[in-house]
């Protein structure tokens, strides 16, 4: 047990030691130390508390700051947006102001224009009223005028009708007279010559043209140099064709005073046809009255050639021992009358070229043959200074004409019958032209004008004038 006692003692001892220590260490020093440290501690704790409080405040401040910064960001964004929109608005306002000014100007402009227009309109209205009034007046006038017009037209129509009636009456009377005249004339003629009338009434009555005895020389034309051997009037017109020694054929218009001169130079060939074939000079040419196609020519090579102008060459040649001086187509164009140097008159058929008939017309060469208008009688002139009329069908002499002092000038002197088959004209060597009346069988007149021997005479188909050509180349027209 001593161990336990020892142990207990030891424990007690330990307790005592602890107490002692307590007293020495903390018991002794604690109060002073605590007193000394109180302010520090309290300060420290104060500071701690302050620090904690400040920390909390700081945290709160941070939170608030973050919130505020968020807000700020939002606000800044908003403000930017607002600024932008404000700018836009300002710009819009400026533009609107501009527009407003413009429109104001326009408006004032329009106002002035409007006023002008109104004034103009008023003016126009006034004018319009006046014009209306005038129009009304005019309308009334017009009406009146129309009425008058109508009335006048009616009267004029009435007058015209009356005139027309009178005219009709006059015409009727005239026709009546003509008829009576015609009838009497025809009766007169019928009494005078039976043959001629019958023939004339058969055919060629339409070609009947009164021909007067020419007496006065109306024209004197220097047609050709060296003599004009042949002159001929164009068929039924006043145009005179003359051929001269100067190898030119000239055409003269005698009806009018103008000289339309158509010159053909025979040798140059400007004419439409140049017909070659004769070996000696051609002394007579004639164109068919039926068709201008056929031409017949006689030359001193003792041939008579018949030409077809369309074909352009000689279709027939008649050879006779005696030269032909003069030619003439018959009216039907199938027969040729030819006068020869042996003084015979011969008739040929151009198609066969056969001699149909012959008759001794003159003792000396025949110089001219001309057919009458009606184609029944042919006039022959010879060097024996005799002019004979022969009936074509029977070849009997119908008449003979001669005159003292009338001497046929040359072998080719042409004489002619007047268109009404009443007169014969022939030129003489002393330059005079004798005209015989067939019915009277006597010389009617003698035309003296030419100074040279008259070579050719021709009567216009119209009845007048008569043309004559002499050796000097002077052509005279007689009416």
């Amino acid at each position: 047990m001593s161990r336990e006692v020892l142990a207990r003692e030891a424990i007690n001892h330990a307790f005592k030691a602890l107490k002692k220590r307590h007293l020495i260490e903390e018991g002794a020093h604690a109060p002073a130390y605590i007193a000394l440290s109180r302010p520090i501690i309290s300060q420290g704790s104060e500071w701690k508390e302050k620090a904690e409080n400040l920390e909390m405040e700081l945290q709160q401040c941070y939170k608030a700051q973050s919130r505020l910064s968020e807000q700020l960001v939002v606000e800044v964004a908003e403000s930017r947006a607002l600024k932008a929109s404000l700018q836009e608005k300002e710009m819009a306002i400026a533009e609107l102001e501009k527009e407003l000014n413009q429109t104001r100007d326009e408006c004032s402009q329009l106002k002035t224009d409007l006023e002008e227009k109104i004034r103009a309109l008023e003016l126009l209205m006034v004018e319009h009223q006046e014009l209306k009034a005038q129009l009304e007046q005019m309308a009334i006038k017009a009406k009146n005028a129309e009425a008058e017009n109508k009335m006048l037209v009616d009267r004029w129509m009435l007058q015209k009708m009356q005139d027309a009636e009178r005219l009709n009456e006059a015409n009727a009377l005239y026709e009546d007279m003509i008829e009576r005249l015609k009838a009497s004339g025809l009766e007169k003629l019928a009494r005078e010559q039976v043959d001629g009338i019958v023939r004339r009434s058969e055919d060629g009555a339409e070609f009947f043209a009164e021909s007067t005895v020419p007496s006065v020389c109306s024209h004197r034309i220097n047609a050709h140099e060296g003599g004009c051997a042949s002159i001929l009037f164009e068929y039924n017109s006043g145009k005179l064709i003359s051929g001269g020694q100067d190898r030119s054929v000239k055409m003269w218009d005698t009806a009018s005073s103008s000289n339309n001169l158509f010159v053909w130079d025979v040798s140059s060939g400007r004419i439409r046809h140049t017909l070659t074939g004769h070996t000696d000079k051609v002394c007579a040419v004639d164109v068919s009255k039926v068709s201008s196609r056929h031409v017949v020519s006689a030359a001193y090579d003792r041939t008579i050639k018949v030409w077809d102008l369309q074909k352009g060459y000689c279709t027939n040649t008649i050879i006779f021992h005696s030269n032909c001086n003069a030619l003439c187509f018959s009216t039907d164009g199938l027969t040729i009358c030819s006068g020869h140097v042996d003084g015979n008159l011969r008739l040929w058929d151009i198609r066969t070229g056969k001699l149909l008939s012959e008759v001794a017309a003159h003792s000396l060469p025949i110089t001219s043959i001309s057919l009458s208008r009606n184609g029944n009688v042919v006039l022959t002139s010879g060097r024996d200074n005799v002019h004979n009329l022969f009936d074509v069908r029977s070849l009997e002499a119908c008449g003979t004409f001669k005159a003292t002092g009338n001497r046929v000038a040359s072998n080719w002197s042409r004489s002619c019958i007047s268109p009404d088959d009443n007169y014969i004209a022939a030129g003489s060597a002393d330059g005079s032209i004798c005209i015989w009346s067939i019915s009277k069988a006597d010389i009617v007149s003698t035309l003296k004008e030419h100074t040279a021997p008259v070579l050719s005479c021709t009567w216009s188909g119209l009845g007048k004038p008569l043309a004559s050509a002499d050796k000097n180349g002077i052509v005279c027209t007689w009416t």
């Binding site: 020892l6 220590r21 020093h29």
Partner: protein, 356 residues
């Protein structure tokens, strides 16, 4: 009053001087007078000290460290232990110097303030739990709030709160039949029946700090100053108390802890550190007879329990636990139950004279 209460309320008066290299004002600031809890740690005093010197400190980052007579003080050793160890003749107030710059990284491990101290404490607690229970599950499974509460109770010296939390840990305590000596007789039986069935053997975690002195001395203040930690050997060895061992005294524990100091010449070759517990026990058994002799001797000589001339080569001059020098005959179980630090370790300071 109960012994634990004395232990928890124990505080050392400190007179803390600011090192002259840190003084930037004239006149230099007066030393701070701080009462430091014995069971606390020096870095925990930083908030109390700083207000004294904050105005004079040079600008920069503060890393607090202390030194006593030039020796940097290891911050993971409880303040009371440091005082007991380094001041054989207690110096009250204890003059130590505080530094805020120039942390001696070669001597001290880094301390980053209260957290470092807390983790160190928890670590020690785990170690103790492992020694006592064989595993430290109970410490590791402690909830965050419990941990914090425990630590705060330690920081603030709140015994009730500490006891509340630590009882949850169910760390086996050593069966102490002598606990009844402190209590009223009426509670005795209650305590006996309430004590949980103990294991046959209880292991007590012990941290032993041995200050070796070469010269012999008669008075404590003749002990030369400690100027290097090499003079102090730190032995971390649990003491096993066997149930059948009645009256396991402190002396017995010391023999286990420092067998080389209690050896016969024949057992002088026993290894230091890493000694097998059973060996230690055998040794203690073998020495029982001699113990008795010693005890008898000691009984007479226990008037001065410090001087125990066991062997001729070494001599334990001083044993201090929690600032007191208990007799060697004191039951070790009582010591283990009452003089524990909050980390369930028993810190024992011993001064040994070692012959040259």
């Amino acid at each position: 009053m109960e012994a634990p209460k004395f232990v928890w309320e124990g505080a050392i008066p400190l007179q803390i001087h600011l090192h002259e290299s840190q003084v930037t004002t004239l006149p230099p600031p007066p030393p701070a007078l701080i009462l430091a809890p014995r069971i606390g740690y020096l870095p925990l005093l930083a908030p109390l000290i700083k207000p004294y010197f904050s105005s004079t400190l040079p600008p920069g980052v503060d890393t607090i460290w202390f030194d006593y007579n030039g020796l940097p003080l290891k911050w993971y050793i409880p303040t009371g232990v440091l005082f007991d160890l380094l001041c054989p003749e207690p110096e009250r107030p204890w003059n130590i110097t505080v530094h805020f710059r120039g942390y001696p990284g070669s001597v001290l491990i880094p301390c980053e303030g209260e957290d470092s101290v807390k983790w160190s404490f928890i670590n020690s607690l785990k170690e103790a739990a492992y020694i006592m229970n064989g595993n430290c599950k109970n410490v590791m499974n402690m909830s965050q709030s419990d941990q914090l509460e425990l630590w705060h109770s330690v920081m603030n010296g709140n015994l009730e709160a500490y006891q509340r939390v630590s009882s949850k840990l169910k760390l086996a305590t050593v069966d102490d039949e002598y606990a009844s000596l402190c209590l009223q007789k009426s509670q005795q039986s209650v305590i006996e029946t309430d004590l949980p069935a103990q294991a046959k053997t209880g292991r007590v975690p012990v941290r032993l700090y041995v200050l070796s002195v070469s010269k012999d001395f008669d008075d404590l203040d003749e002990i030369p100053r400690v100027d290097s930690w090499e003079k102090i050997s730190y032995i971390n060895r649990p003491v096993e108390i066997r149930k059948e061992d009645k009256c396991f005294t402190l002396h017995d524990a010391l023999k286990i802890l420092l067998p080389e100091l209690f050896l016969d010449e024949s057992l002088m070759n026993v290894k230091l550190g890493g000694v097998d517990l059973e060996d230690a026990v055998r040794n203690s058994n073998e020495d029982v007879t001699s113990d008795k002799v010693v005890e008898d001797q000691g009984q007479n000589a226990c008037k001065r329990p410090e001087a125990c001339r066991i062997s001729s080569s070494a001599e334990i001059k001083l044993i201090r636990i929690q600032g007191i020098e208990p007799k060697l005959e004191i039951p070790f179980s009582w010591v283990a139950n009452n003089l524990l630090n909050p980390d369930y370790f028993l810190h024992v300071c011993v001064c040994v004279k070692v012959a040259q």
